[in-house]
Every structure is written in structure tokens, then in C-alpha cells.
């Protein structure tokens, strides 16, 4: 499956911020690091802020800080701010009431259950832990060898 762009941007932003809870990070810094649209990112950050995952810091050196709980927030929590993970044919969809429609709906139900369970089982903290384990000598902020 492929995530919608907004979901992907949101995951980049929230993982970047949750990975550096002590820092204020600007939207510009995130957009440059990930090569993404600053305009689109701003909308996504606004939505993340409304949901309580990030907080905008005002002032000359403003930016965003992580405002959630990385151990309790799953990838699904973020993704479902922007798209549904349960998109499948339902009553009223053309062909849904036919035997073929119903059989396909059952298969989509299976795949959606696996997808939903997968995204629901991975917290932001778990992803960050995996990233740190995969590249222990790299500074997660700069992508450069850790100077320590």
C-alpha cells in the first residue's frame, strides 16, 4: 500500500520532533531535510497541532516542539488524521451487493485488518528505537557521524 502524501509528511514531522524532544525545529528545517514541500508541511503541522501532537513555539527563533507521548502514539494515530485505513467497498458502492462485490469486500477486509493491526502496533517510540539501533553511530538530527 502507499500512504497519502499528507500522512507521510506528518510521520516525517512527528518522528523528527519526537526524536528531538529537547529542540525546537522549524518547518523549514524539516522540509529541507526530507526534501518536501514547505507549504504542504505547514498544513500538516497545523493539523498535528490541532490534534495535540506538536506545538508551535512563537518568537523569532520559533518552530515546533513535540507535544505528545511517543510511547502511546501509534503510526495509526497519525495516519488516520489524514486518511482512513478502512477504505473498502461498503453498502451503496456500485457492485458492492453482488456476490463478486461481497467476495472482494471480504478480501479487502482481511488486508485492512492486517494493515490496521500493523500500524496500530507500532508506536513512535518503537520506530525511533529501531532507527537508533540501525545507525547507532549516526546523529539522528544531522545524519552525520556522531561526534561523541
Amino acid at each position: 500500500m502507499k500512504l497519502q502524501t499528507a500522512s507521510r509528511l506528518a510521520l516525517y514531522a512527528v518522528l523528527e520532533l519526537a526524536g528531538h524532544p529537547e529542540r525546537q525545529i522549524s518547518a523549514g528545517e524539516i522540509s529541507r531535510k526530507y526534501g518536501i514541500s514547505a507549504h504542504h508541511l505547514a498544513k500538516v503541522l497545523h493539523a498535528l497541532g490541532r490534534a495535540g501532537h506538536v506545538r508551535a513555539v512563537r518568537g523569532a527563533s520559533g518552530g515546533y516542539v513535540y507535544a505528545g507521548n511517543a510511547k502511546r502514539t501509534t503510526l495509526r494515530d497519525i495516519i488516520e488524521l489524514f486518511e482512513s485505513l478502512d477504505d473498502r467497498h461498503g453498502p451503496g458502492e456500485p457492485g458492492a451487493e453482488t456476490p463478486v462485490g461481497e467476495a472482494l469486500d471480504e478480501v479487502l477486509g482481511e488486508t485492512n485488518a492486517i494493515i490496521g493491526a500493523t500500524f496500530n502496533s507500532i508506536t513512535l517510540a518503537t520506530i525511533l528505537k529501531q532507527i537508533a539501533a540501525a545507525a547507532p553511530d549516526i546523529d539522528a538530527g544531522t545524519g552525520q557521524p556522531d561526534a561523541r
Partner: protein, 167 residues
């Protein structure tokens, strides 16, 4: 938490409150407490199953079968959690790997390292027996257990579990 390995090879973790626990092999007298904890967590009573499983683990392939408990280091010596697993080979075409069949932690002491310690002991047991793959199976709706195993580095494997009703 600070961690100290005892001379007997058990793993003792001391929490900030001063309480600790020890991971050890289950004993026959633990099974009632394990069954009670399992029923509390799962909602299903399996006393006979757990008792029979324990007994079978004492008689055959003991070096490949693991039944651990986490015991409170305090005066009550309460069973705080348990993990059961064994090495299986060639089922479903799989090379030998360690299966974790059950892992439960008392709800009141979760997120204190008990689950991690149980899984670590299970993993060490599997490694000593020569396997390098750990597998388990979790219901889609068991978000807590899924999240725990994910946080311990487990990912989706190459198998799909399929089933049908027999009418």
C-alpha cells in the same frame, strides 16, 4: 532500572521504588499462580492445560523448552509474569526457531521491565540451544501485546496465518 545478574544466572532488576523481581524457571508450585494470572489477563481458565504443559516440559526436550516466571523479590514472592516457549523445527517448512507461545505480565506491574526481562531470558535460552530466530503469534486486536513485541524488535514474518471453520 538498574540491573544485576546473580551468581545463579538469574536476572534481577531493581526498580526505582526498591522493588525488584527475579526471572527463573517455573516450578510445579508456581503453576496455580501462573494459571490465575493467565485467566486474569486472557479471561479464559486453562489450569489443566498449563499444568500438563509444565509436566511435559520436565520430561522431554527440556533443553529446548522454556517456562519462565518473574517472581517478586519481596516477602510475598508473587508471580508477576510468565513466558512459555520452545524450539520447533520444520513445521510449516520453517528451519528451527524459537516460538514464544505465551507471555503475560500482571497488569499492575506493566512497563517496569518484567516483560522485557522474560523475553530476554527466552531469547537467551533459544540462543544457547543454537537457534537465531524468535517467532510468536498475536491476535490483531491485542494491541498491547503487539506493541510490546514490536517494541522488542519483532516484525512481520514471511507467513500468513490462515484458518477456516469446520462445519
Amino acid at each position: 532500572m538498574t540491573e544485576n545478574e546473580t551468581s545463579q544466572g538469574t536476572f534481577e532488576a531493581a526498580g526505582q521504588s526498591g522493588d525488584g523481581f527475579v526471572i527463573r524457571r517455573a516450578r510445579r508450585e508456581d503453576i496455580a499462580a501462573v494459571a490465575a494470572l493467565d485467566e486474569q489477563v486472557s479471561g479464559v481458565a486453562k489450569d489443566a492445560y498449563l499444568s500438563e504443559l509444565f509436566e511435559s516440559y520436565q520430561t522431554r526436550r527440556a533443553e529446548q523448552r522454556f517456562f519462565y516466571v518473574a517472581e517478586d523479590s519481596g516477602e510475598e514472592h508473587r508471580i508477576l509474569g510468565f513466558a512459555i516457549g520452545e524450539i520447533r523445527a520444520w513445521e510449516f517448512g520453517s528451519t528451527p526457531c524459537g516460538w514464544v507461545f505465551a507471555l503475560s505480565v500482571e497488569p499492575g506491574v506493566r512497563e517496569e521491565g518484567v516483560g522485557e526481562a522474560l523475553l530476554r531470558h527466552m531469547s537467551d535460552g533459544f540462543r544457547r540451544a543454537g537457534v537465531r530466530k524468535l517467532r510468536t503469534m498475536v491476535r490483531h486486536r491485542n494491541h498491547l501485546l503487539l506493541s510490546f513485541f514490536r517494541s522488542e524488535g519483532l516484525k512481520a514474518g514471511p507467513y500468513l496465518q490462515l484458518e477456516k471453520e469446520l462445519r
